[in-house]
């Protein structure tokens, strides 16, 4: 089917409208849909998932490359399979550890980070990065906990820092 607006491109976007029972259906190509402002609907949710790259891990089941234990197995048993699981599942550990321990790193590294922070105190740039990483971690955890209102506040802070 051709786009009902330009009549040239293949229609890839279907738009439904229902105003007081008056139903309407439009078939549009993506260019026209965008120029008519219809794609902005999907953007309603996008700020919640700030960076879709971070969620790649949701697509494939994660399996430890040493013991072949999966993250689902962990969710069932509450146990990891081998020390290497901590490496294999690291994408998901920060939010898990934040819940369990309120911290995400072993103390030795935390101390290192602190001293690093002190050393680079003069350099605004790295200070900004540290803050940014921290906020992004927090955001991820909040989204996972479905605390979207708090997440939105953090998201705005991140935007503000990134914008500077």
């Amino acid at each position: 089917m051709k786009c009902e607006n330009c009549g040239v491109n293949e229609a890839t976007v279907r738009y439904y409208q229902n105003i007081n029972g008056d139903k309407k259906q439009l078939h549009l190509c993506s260019d026209c849909a965008e120029s008519l402002g219809f794609t902005s609907f999907s953007n309603i949710f996008s700020p919640m998932f700030l960076d879709s790259k971070n969620y790649d891990f949701l697509e494939e089941p994660q399996v430890c490359n040493v013991c072949h234990y999966s993250f689902d197995d962990y969710l069932k048993t509450g146990l990891f399979g081998c020390p290497n699981c901590y490496e294999s599942f690291q994408d998901r550990l920060d939010s898990l550890f934040l819940k369990l321990h309120g911290k995400t790193r072993h103390v030795e590294l935390e101390k290192e980070n602190k001293t690093k922070k002190e050393v680079t105190e003069k350099s605004n740039l790295s200070k900004k990065d540290n803050k940014l990483d921290e906020l992004k971690e927090k955001l991820k955890a909040l989204i996972e906990e479905e605390k979207y209102e708090e997440a939105a506040v953090i998201r705005d802070k991140i935007k503000e820092i990134e914008g500077k």
């Binding site: 081998c82 020390p83 911290k103």
Partner: protein
């Protein structure tokens, strides 16, 4: 054995325990190992300990003895129930390690009373000497890696066993325990269900293990437990009365004369007598003796002492007999 000794704050604190969870590098966690691999872990640990410590394969320990160790809080119920594993233990039971429990190594140090520092010194010494010979699974990011992520990082759990009859009696115990939980420590009643704990014995431990120095964990437990000790003492002063003295002596009277004693009843009565002894209401019996009886009147421990298997009926009679003899 250490649990008969009287030490710092023994009027309120029964015992202190510190546990380290450690795993050998290059091995999967225990629940993923086959029998051969489990034996390899046992051998590695066996070869790493020095002659001060005994290495006991639990296959060679009879069930009653094994569960008497559970009653003395030296090993976990889950560990005693499993088929494979080993116990590393020193002469006075101050150091007890379980091999192939949830982690390859669950090392524990015990002290009577409130003695976190000496506990920590002992466990650290033993664990460091092992670490010279064994490579533990450890990462820069997450510290010591454990089977369950609730233990990752320091792998340390500090647990204090408290006797809190007065706070229970004046009805503020659940409030206090709630506050302790809010501070990030965990609390459980040691006997019976959490809500209807009998014996008034509670265990308080740290919950978080990641991103904290050992000393930070220890300090937090120290502060909270010290506060509770003081509250319990204040509460004891408040409830001291003729009525309480009567209760204590009645409990003592039953223990001294009963011909049939159930396990739960014995513990409840001993809890009252313990309170009476600590408040100087009763002088006929030593605190160390009460402490000992609280452990020894439990089912398996009693059978180990009697050196025979007992039916439930026989057991209640033997228990009464044992208590009468001890109080004589």
């Amino acid at each position: 054995m250490w649990y008969k000794e009287i030490s710092n704050d023994s009027d309120v604190v029964i015992s202190t325990r510190i546990r380290f969870a450690r795993n050998l590098d290059n091995y999967k966690f225990v629940h993923m190992l086959n029998s051969n691999e489990k034996n390899e872990v046992l051998d590695k640990v066996k070869n790493a300990i020095n002659s001060e410590y005994k290495f006991l394969d639990i296959k060679n320990i009879d069930e009653t003895t094994l569960f008497s160790l559970v009653e003395g809080h030296l090993i976990s119920k889950e560990f005693a129930a499993q088929a494979e594993g080993a116990i590393v233990i020193n002469d006075d039971n101050r150091l007890v390690a379980m091999v192939n429990e949830e982690d390859h190594l669950r090392i524990q140090a015990f002290e009577p009373g409130f003695n976190i520092d000496s506990c920590y010194k002992n466990i650290k010494k033993f664990t460091d000497s092992l670490e010279e010979k064994l490579k533990f699974a450890k990462s820069k990011k997450y510290g010591y890696l454990t089977s369950c992520p609730t233990n990752v990082g320091s792998g340390m759990r500090v647990s204090i066993m408290l006797h809190l009859p007065a706070l229970t009696k004046i009805g503020v115990i659940s409030n206090i325990l709630e506050q302790v939980t809010a501070l990030g420590l965990s609390v459980r009643g040691l006997y019976g269900e959490n809500t209807s704990a009998y014996g008034n014995i509670y265990q308080i431990s740290n919950q978080r293990t990641l991103g904290l120095l050992d000393t930070e964990i220890i300090d937090k437990v120290k502060i909270v437990v010290t506060t509770i000790i003081n509250e319990e003492r204040k509460a004891r002063n408040k409830i001291n009365s003729y009525k309480l003295q009567d209760e204590v002596y009645r409990a003592y009277g039953i223990l001294k004369n009963a011909r049939i004693l159930k396990e739960e009843e014995a513990l409840k009565l001993l809890s009252k007598v313990r309170l009476g002894v600590c408040m100087n209401i009763i002088n006929e019996v030593e605190l160390s003796k009460v402490q000992q009886m609280m452990i020894d009147t439990q089912s398996n421990s009693l059978q180990v002492i009697c050196k025979q298997a007992l039916s439930e009926k026989e057991e209640d009679i033997k228990r009464a007999e044992y208590v009468r003899k001890e109080l004589d």
